[in-house]
Symmetry: C2
Subunit: 529 residues, 2 copies
Amino acid sequence: MEILGASFLGSKAVTAGKAFHAWNPALGKSIDPAFHEASAEDADEALRLAAGAAPELRALSAESRAAFLDQVGESLLELGDALLARAGEETGLPPQRLAGERARTVGQWKLFASLVREGSWVDARIDRGDPARKPAPKPDIRRMLAPIGPVAVFGASNFPLAFSVAGGDTASALAAGNPVVAKAHPGHPGTSELAARAIVEAARRSGMPEGTFSLLQGGGNEIGLSLVKHPLTRAAGFTGSLRGGRALFDAACARPSPIPLHAEMGSINPVFVLPGALRERAEAFAEGLAQSVTLGVGQFCTNPGLVVGLEGEGLDLLRKKLAERIAASPPGVMLHPGIREGYEAGTSRLERTAGVRLEARSEATSEREKNHGAAAFFTTDARTFLARSELSEEVFGPSTLVVRCGSTEELEEIARKLEGSLTATLHGTPEDLAAHRRLVSILEDRVGRLVWNGYPTGVEVGHAVQHGGPYPATTDPRFTSVGTAAILRFARPVCWQDWPEAALPEELRNANPRGILRLVDGERTRAAL
Amino acid sequence: MEILGASFLGSKAVTAGKAFHAWNPALGKSIDPAFHEASAEDADEALRLAAGAAPELRALSAESRAAFLDQVGESLLELGDALLARAGEETGLPPQRLAGERARTVGQWKLFASLVREGSWVDARIDRGDPARKPAPKPDIRRMLAPIGPVAVFGASNFPLAFSVAGGDTASALAAGNPVVAKAHPGHPGTSELAARAIVEAARRSGMPEGTFSLLQGGGNEIGLSLVKHPLTRAAGFTGSLRGGRALFDAACARPSPIPLHAEMGSINPVFVLPGALRERAEAFAEGLAQSVTLGVGQFCTNPGLVVGLEGEGLDLLRKKLAERIAASPPGVMLHPGIREGYEAGTSRLERTAGVRLEARSEATSEREKNHGAAAFFTTDARTFLARSELSEEVFGPSTLVVRCGSTEELEEIARKLEGSLTATLHGTPEDLAAHRRLVSILEDRVGRLVWNGYPTGVEVGHAVQHGGPYPATTDPRFTSVGTAAILRFARPVCWQDWPEAALPEELRNANPRGILRLVDGERTRAAL
C-alpha cells in the first residue's frame, strides 16, 4: 500500500508544504516518502469543512452514526498488515504489541458504536409541565447531550494506533456527533495517513458529510496552535508531554472565546507496597513490578515510576530481586531519538542526585544507533525524596525509583506531597488495607484509578475505567480519555422548553422510540410518556 | 436579629479588616453595621479548614449529607422575616419577589437533598473481571463520582438568595460532598451573613466537620483572586459580569495547577418572532415581551435583550404595542448605583448609535436618588445590527432592541452572528417551525435552552433545565448552574481496580445496599451482583 505523504482536508489528499520524513528508530534512518507540513491555511480549510459538516452530523440518526463508527473499525482492519508494518517501522514497536494495539483500537470503535446504538448516554431528562401550577404555569422542559462542535485531536507518539489519529479521542468525538480535525504526531506520519485513509473511506461508505474528518501533518508547534486558536474549534483532546499539553491548554484558555482542552500528560503512578506484602511476597512483587516498569520500554503513561515502602528485610529482598530483574532485562528500541534523549537525561539527573543510588541497569549492551533505552532502578530514602521536588517528576521510560520510609507517617507524607497522577497502586493484605485507611484517603484525592495488588500498566477499555487524574496528569480530572465515558468531553446539554413534540430529537419524544433510559420527573425509566 | 458585620472562618465569626457598609439603593444611604474586608490570610485560613474537612466530608454517608442539606433549608426558613427585610434593604427588591426567591432557594436545598438520598447521580459503573481472559486476566473495575475538593463560590448581586451565599452553587458543591468557601457579594453583605449563619448552624446541628463552610466578606477583587489562586482550591463557581468572570477564569487557568472555574456571565437571550406569530398575535407577544423585559427591573441573566423579526404589518403592530407598554411601565429600584450607571451607559450608547432609534422609554419620572432604572425599547434594521458588533452586547437592565429584517436569510445571518447565550426563544406557528429548520439549527448551536412561544425569564429548578451556554454566557457550555445536573461541576470520577469489596464505597459493593441505578457490564440495573 503506497504512502502518499499526505494531509487530508476532508476527503482531499494534500501534499503541499515544507517536506519532512518519518524516522526509523531501530535502523537510525529516515523513511520514504516525504510528508508535507500543513499550513495555517490548511487548518482553516479543515475547520471550515468541519463547521460545514457539523449541522448535518448533528441531525443524523444514532443508527447512521453507529454504522459509521463500526465501518471505521472495518476499514482499519482492511488496511491489513500494511498498517502494522508501517507502524513498526516508524516506532520500533514489535509486531505482536502492534497487533494487540490494533485489536484494542478496532474494539474502541465497536464499543463506541454500541454505546451510540444503545443511546442512553445522552442523559435524556424530561420535566413535564403543569399548566395549572400557581403562581405561574410550569413549562415542559426536555434536555439531552448534543455535540459540542468541531474537535481538534492531537495524537500521542507512544500508542500509534490506540491513542493516535484513529484512537480514543477521535472515536469519542465522532461518537458524540462532532467533526474532527486530527493533527498527526510527526513520529508516525505514515501510520497516521493510513489511519486517516481508513476513516475517510468509512465516512465515504457511510455517507457522512464532507469535512467530517480531516488530518493535518506537521512537526512544529504552529500548526497545533493554529488548530486550538481557530474560532471554529470548540474542544480539543491531546495526549503527550506536560510541556506540549500545557502550551495548548494555555492557548485554549486565552482565546477570546475559551474552549475546553483535555490534555493527558505526565504521570508518576506511585506504588505503595505495604508491610504485609513485603513480608509475604516481596519477590513476587518485584517480579511483577519489573515487568510493568519495562513493558513497552517503559513508554506508557501508566508506567510505575515510584515505589514506596517501609525499610526492612522485605524491602531489602524486593530491592535485590528487582535489581536482578532490571539487570537482566534486554534494552529495547525507544520511539524516537528525542524520547531516548529525554529518558537518558532523566536517569542521569537521578544518578547525579545526592542521596539517590543507581541499584541496577540493564546489563545487555544498549546500542545507541538502535535508539535503545536501558532499564534502570534507583533507590533513595524518604527524607531525600521529600526534600527534592524534582524526584517526583516523571522520567518517561523504563526506570523506577524505590523510596525507603522509616514509618507509616513518612508513607503518608510522601503521598501528601505527590502531584496528581493517573493511578496509585497498593500492594498488601486485607489487614494492611484496614491499617492504612488514611494513606488510601490521601491517594484517593490525588489520582483517578486505584489499583489493588496489581500493576498500573494495562488500561482496560470499558465503561468503568477512569483514565484521568488531577493536574498534571490531565488538565481536568472530571473526565476520562479512555472508555465510554470519554464521550462526555465532547458533548453539552441542550434543553427545549415547551417545544412542539414533532420538532424534538427522537430521544425526547413522548413515545421514546429509541427505548433509551430517561429521567422523567426524577424517575429513571425506559417507558413512553 | 442583629447583624454582626462578620465573615465566618468555619463557625468562627470574624470582624477584623477594613470597614465597609451595605447600601440601601431605594433610600440612597448606607446601612449599619460596618462589615470588614476579609484578607488573603482569612482566605488561607478558610481553605485550610476546608481542606481539613474534605476527607471527613467525603467519607460521610449519603444520608448524613442529605440530612445536612435539608437542615440548611430549615435553618434558612428559621431566619424568618429578618432575612427578607435585610435583603430588601440591601437590594431594593420588593418583598413578594424576595419571598418567592426564598421559596426557590429552600426548594433547591431540598431538591439536592433528595438527589443525594436517591444516590444514582454518582453514575456508578462496574465492569466485572474475568480471571480466565487471554492473554491477560481482566481486572474488576468500579467507578463513581467523588467530590472534587474545596470549592470557592462567588455570589451574584441580582438574586441575593437563590444565586448567592446559600444559592445553587453552594448547595450543589456541598451536595457533591465538598467544603465551600463563599465570597459574599458586597451589594448584600448582611443578607450574606444571615445566609452563612444558617449554613453554619445547619452544619453544627448535623455534625459536619469544622471548615465545611466559610464566608468571606469584601468588595475588592483581591480577596476573590486569593480564593481562586489558592493551591487548596479545586474548583469555583461564579455568577456575575463578563469582566469579573473572565478575570477569575483567567486566574484559574494560569495557576501552576489549573482548576475549573464555572462563570455564568452575560447573555443577550435573542427572541425570534416568526411570520405566523406576527400575523396572528403580534399584540399578545408584545404584551408578554414587555413583562419579560421589565421583570425584576430587567436584572435577570435571561432578560430578552434582542428581538428579531421580519418587517411588515405584524412587526409594526408589535412595535406600537411594545412602545405603549414600555412607556407605561413604572421605573424600578435597581440593585445598586453601579448597576444603574452601567444600564444608563448602555442605553445611552444605543441611543447615540446611528441607525438605532429609541422607540419608547418609561414615562413615569425616574428618580435617580431612588436608583431608578427606566425601561427602554429601541429598534434598528438588520444591516445596522450586522455592521455594529457592539449592538449584540448585553445591556443589563430593562431594555430591549428590536431588529427588523427584510428576509429569512437576514434572520439566519443575525443568528449566525450571535455569540453564545443562555437562551434563544422562538415565537411562531407549527408551520413557522417547519419553515425555519435552518434557523433553529443555528440557534441550537449557540445556546443552552430553546424556548417555544414563551419568554426566557423564569428558570425552572429541576432535573432537565440547562442554565448555561457557549461563551460568553458561561466559561464551559458542558455544565449547568441551575438544576440537579449542577452537581456535576463539582465531582470527578474515581475508579478502584480489583479492590477488596469491604473497602469500597457502599455505592460500588456487590449487594448495592443503597439500591442505586448502576451500569454493570454495560447494563443499567439496580440489581445486586
